[in-house]
Symmetry: C2
Subunit: 140 residues, 2 copies
Amino acid sequence: MNEIREVIEGKAALLETGDAKAVLSHYADTYVEYTLAPPLRQPGDARDPAALAAWMATFQTPPHREVTQLEITTDGDVAFATSLDSLTATPRGATEGFTLWFRVTLGLRRIDGRWLVTHEHESVPFEMDGSFRASVTLRP
Amino acid sequence: MNEIREVIEGKAALLETGDAKAVLSHYADTYVEYTLAPPLRQPGDARDPAALAAWMATFQTPPHREVTQLEITTDGDVAFATSLDSLTATPRGATEGFTLWFRVTLGLRRIDGRWLVTHEHESVPFEMDGSFRASVTLRP
């Protein structure tokens, strides 16, 4: 359980260092990825460090990620974890930063003795008032 | 694995019968729920059959749910499952129905010999073009 918590909190902390390879070292070679942005499911089987680095470079400094309300359920070599996370960043060219809160579910497997993320699902809900607006201003 | 698949496909099929209690019999007494609509996390510890029945009653007939690309990872008494699901329904008073595709992650635990859902995360992504629109027209 502690080991899994360290993976999850560790990779969140690594984001701020801007080291894309180090972040992705916590992911399995193939995994199922549901991101905040479309498509419904990422087509790639492995995350590309260059793509993650390029995304981080759209901000003045790499985003700060906070993991809250982390709950881990595990047995044997399988685990899933839920949390409410926030990302705080200032896009390049913007005068003000933002903090976005979103839901996170991770699926993990212990492979060759190491816990790796094999599934990641990140999302915000959307307003059911007919506007179909993503709910990007919610806080836990 | 087969037992877990039956729970997931069974509760999807049950939705169409309109039997809220039967659907919810596949859920543990307490679970973590991230729904399509706000808030970020449902505050209730247990889903209310009356609330589910009331939601189903907003449609001309109970929604039809389809589960696709189901992948299950399990060890011992813990499992997580990913899928892309669709909900097809016609709201009361509407002349046309809709089909909404969304991502689903389930966490399950075997409790007293029965697999039960202890976590459900349903979402659509949102457009990162500055519009913050929920992506409700995607298809797998």
